[in-house]
């Protein structure tokens, strides 16, 4: 189909940009992230860059200049003392804390590649990710370093650096927090692998930097937009986690795209953003860490948002203007009296991603805080921002909004042809934020990247104004006797029952219909029966969409940020079917 006449080639969303969103995102002003980090550090030198806020209100902060100097020290340590070369991979595995930005920026300044790793990973997952990425150094929070013993020998890691949650706190609060962690929570295990503490590593780096007058600016000098910056692992739906290769250019472009989308509500140097989502996740990494560093914001880091009461002091003590989150986080906040009785007064905007935002949550948020939650859409493979609902102008409920400036989006059928307006099709993306491919997986990369277009595997529809709505994951689609069933539609119908807390719908093999619909239900009413759920579904759905079987569960498998893992349920159901 000719692009200019296809509904997507016309880019109807540009009309919805309004006066605030530029048609093209500004070109990145820096060649690579190291320069970007230094640029903002010079502009906002004395301002507070990061504050870690503990559940009891204890806190520690670093200014832009401090983060800049400390990350220089870390770059020198990695290059001169560990002896890494440009392009070497450095795995980082920690919750939100002041050490994170120092280490991540230090890795970029050293010209190395960051490998974000979930601190809650099991040893098996850690081993896979370390070995696959070929990481040579690991910065890990001491809380989880006891998992390393069996893992290290099967990786190329030759240096382990231990960070801590109250890193860079002043002495008394640090001692109190570590004391409580050690004695009461028992979350500080003894570490039996050879290691160095981050504070030592930094002081060694600083010593050498000063003694030899090293200019850490030289390490990244040879790097450009196409140099690899980040290996961000993503579960995918089959097999083991794959490392999405994100370049300096990808991340710099995407942070500008994100800033362009939020420009109406962004005042450089004056924002305070609450970071409750983990920084090792691509959403918080690009959005909270990079985009708001560039905007001169103060970033309030919360190590763990669970239980949600952990956020109370952050809201009490800081003038929070922006917050990013996922549906579960906003939902949990709205269940807290301290939040609904005293909603943050300076809040300007909230953004949601990661998983679909429920309209009940969005409405209630608007009523309680007086601000909108702008829902967006993105993938690890796109650094992650693809689209957002505009903060000023029309936002549509249940929609993922309009593509960010410089992003092309099309919806295609199985042959790759554009589908007509209003028809569901696979969402494909082209733009400066699209990854180079999966690390050392040319076959997997070729499957999703064709002629510069990333095939997301998500099925969506577009309306006349260019707003997109996700229908479902293509891989989650259920084929019942030749009819397409979208699990989201069935889940939404069942979730309307008050007795249903959560629901997940998957397809299971069926001798008669090929696949059959199965619902996994978490009930909050012990009296809820299978018959009642089916009767309810029958009222709302055509027969073939009504679940053939319903299974009650006490909880559903979820990703670290709270997305329900249909894949796990499906695998389980298939295993059960073959075992029979």
């Amino acid at each position: 189909m000719n692009h200019s006449t296809s509904p997507y080639g016309l880019q109807p969303w540009l009309a919805a940009y309004g006066e605030h969103i530029p048609r093209e995102a500004p070109a990145p002003a820096h060649a690579h992230l190291a320069d970007f980090v230094r640029g903002a550090a010079q502009r906002y030198a004395t301002q507070t860059a990061f504050t870690t806020c503990m559940p009891n209100g204890m806190h520690g902060s670093l200014s832009y200049a401090q983060v800049d100097a400390l990350s220089d020290d870390f770059a020198v340590y990695l290059r001169e003392i560990v002896g890494l070369a440009a392009g070497s991979r450095v795995a980082v595995q920690m919750p939100n804390c002041l050490a994170y930005p120092v280490v991540a920026f230090g890795v970029f300044k050293a010209g190395c590649v960051l490998v974000n790793t979930n601190p809650l990973y099991t040893p098996i997952e850690m081993e896979h990710q370390f070995a696959d990425s070929g990481a040579e150094a690991l910065v890990i929070v001491d809380m989880f370093a006891n998992k390393l013993e069996g893992v290290l020998p099967r990786t190329s890691i030759r240096k382990v650096i231990l960070a801590e949650v109250p890193q860079f706190f002043s002495a008394v609060p640090r001692a109190v927090i570590r004391g409580v962690m050690k004695v009461w929570n028992r979350t500080l295990p003894s570490v039996r692998v050879p290691h160095v503490r981050l504070a030592e590593a930094l002081s060694e780096g600083r010593g050498l930097r000063e003694a030899r007058r090293i200019d850490p600016g030289a390490y990244a000098a040879g790097q450009g937009a196409d140099s690899l910056a980040l290996l961000q692992y993503t579960g995918g739906t089959t097999g083991r986690a794959k490392g999405a290769m994100l370049t300096h250019g990808n991340l710099l472009a995407n942070l500008e795209q994100a800033r362009a989308m939020g420009r109406s509500h962004l005042e450089d140097g004056r924002e305070v953003i609450l970071t409750a989502l983990p920084l090792y996740h691509i959403f918080a990494f690009t959005f909270n860490l990079l985009a708001f560093w560039g905007a001169g914001a103060r970033n309030v880091l919360v190590p763990s948002p669970r239980p949600i009461g952990n956020l109370q002091r952050a809201f009490d003590n800081y003038r929070i203007t922006w917050v990013s989150g996922v549906n579960t986080l906003f939902n949990a906040l709205l269940n807290e009296e301290w939040f609904t009785a005293f909603p943050p007064r300076h809040l300007k905007a909230a953004v949601a991603g990661g998983a679909a935002l429920q309209s009940a949550v969005a409405e209630r948020w608007q009523r309680v805080t007086g601000t909108r939650i702008a829902e967006g859409y993105g993938l690890t493979e796109t650094s992650p921002v693809v689209s957002f609902n505009p903060l000023a102008g029309v936002a549509k409920p249940d929609s993922i909004g309009i593509p960010a400036p410089g992003t092309e989006v099309r919806l295609v059928d199985d042959e790759g042809h554009d589908v007509p307006l209003g028809t569901p099709g696979e969402l494909i993306v082209r733009g400066p934020q699209v990854m180079q491919g999966y690390w050392q997986q040319p076959d997997e990369s070729a499957k999703v990247l064709r002629e510069g277009w990333l095939y997301t595997g998500d099925v969506a529809v577009m309306d006349e104004q260019g707003y997109f709505k996700i229908v479902d994951r293509k891989k989650d689609m259920i084929l019942v006797s030749g009819f397409n069933v979208y699990p989201n539609e069935v889940e939404d119908a069942i979730a309307q029952m008050d007795a249903v807390l959560e629901v997940a719908v998957v397809g299971v093999p069926d001798a008669k219909s090929g696949e059959a619909v199965r619902a996994f239900v978490v009930s909050q009413d012990p009296g809820l029966t299978e018959e009642a759920v089916r009767a309810h579904a029958k009222r709302l759905l055509t027969d073939y969409k009504v679940p053939r079987s319903i299974e009650f569960r006490t909880e559903l498998p979820k990703t670290p940020i709270g997305k329900i893992l249909r894949k796990d349920l499906r695998d389980e159901a298939r295993r059960a079917a073959t075992a029979r």
Partner: protein, 305 residues
């Protein structure tokens, strides 16, 4: 008996504890508490309804001589102990409610304790030399409000200082009790060995029965289980060191020794029973919290306040 130095030390430690209590408070907390005053009112009903009556009932039922009777009645009339907050913290109960109950019952104590003490002393028909003058009690309580206010200010000024003082205050609550036990028990080993079982029953019972009654009264008055657990801990845990301080300022010599027996034994046993209860409550709350984090927003929306 406590030496004058020890009494002064006790007073100083009480001041630090109150500083810690203040540091755990913001004015927002008061506003939140009084948005739903039911919780605080139920707490006050337990604190000043159940406990003094329970103290009196134990004194009568166990047929205590005046020195013991005044001890257990005084203990019953005390405001909530600040150690309850640390137990509430570790049991993951409604910490804000616990702090609020302690603070409000301490504020109200200036008026309530002298009146209640007067009433139950009269009811028990205690001889005049065992009566604690109301003005003594009011004075001590009024003085302790000063560090509380300073604490509130410190937390506003610097959250790190606030959180540290809050923790120190909380731990000091336990330290004071240890201090009392260490300085008092060895000197009174003889007395303890000959102490009648009924005294042990009264000192353990005051706390444990108090928690039990507190929980059921709270449930009866439609508090949710988590708030009821908070109220239970709060009701059972009385401010033991404050009772000791009042006794040392009122009595002297052997008489002081005898009256101190109940407040000190109570302080000892309440730490033990609260620890057990805290571990139990913590397990319950952990389970509930997980469910609540995942709870969905009700489909029908309540009107925003």
């Amino acid at each position: 008996m406590l030496t004058p130095l020890e009494t002064k030390l006790l007073g100083l430690m009480m001041a630090v504890i109150m500083l810690g209590m203040g540091a755990s408070l913001t004015f927002k907390d008061f506003q939140l508490a009084f948005r739903r005053p039911a919780g605080v009112l139920v707490g006050l009903a337990c604190q000043y309804g159940i406990m003094p009556l329970l103290g009196f009932a134990l004194a009568v039922a166990l047929d205590f001589p005046p020195a013991l009777a005044i001890g257990v009645i005084l203990m019953g009339c005390m405001p909530g102990g600040t150690t309850s907050n640390i137990f509430a913290y570790f049991s993951k109960s409604a910490l804000a409610l616990s702090i609020m109950m302690t603070s409000v019952s301490t504020l109200v104590a200036v008026a309530a304790v002298p009146i209640l003490l007067d009433f139950y002393e009269g009811l028990a028909g205690l001889p005049s030399e065992f009566v604690i003058p109301a003005s003594n009690v009011a004075q001590v309580l009024a003085i302790l409000l000063v560090p509380t206010l300073i604490g509130i200010g410190l937390r506003r000024w610097n959250p790190n200082v606030g959180a540290t003082i809050e923790l120190i205050g909380g731990f000091l609550g336990v330290v004071v009790i240890l201090f009392l036990i260490i300085s008092w028990v060895p000197r009174n080993a003889q007395l303890l060995a000959t102490t009648h079982w009924s005294v042990y029953l009264a000192t353990i019972g005051l706390g444990v029965i108090g928690m039990l009654l507190g929980y059921f009264l709270a449930r009866l008055l439609r508090q949710d289980p988590r708030r009821s657990r908070t109220i239970a801990l709060e009701t059972g845990i009385q401010n033991g060191p404050l009772a000791v301080l009042i006794v040392t300022l009122t009595f002297s010599g052997t008489m002081q020794q005898e009256v101190l027996l109940i407040p000190i034994l109570y302080s000892l046993f309440i730490v033990l029973s609260s620890t057990v209860v805290t571990l139990w409550f913590r397990a319950i709350t952990n389970r509930e919290e997980h469910a609540r984090d995942n709870a969905k927003v009700p489909v029908r929306l309540a009107a925003p306040a």
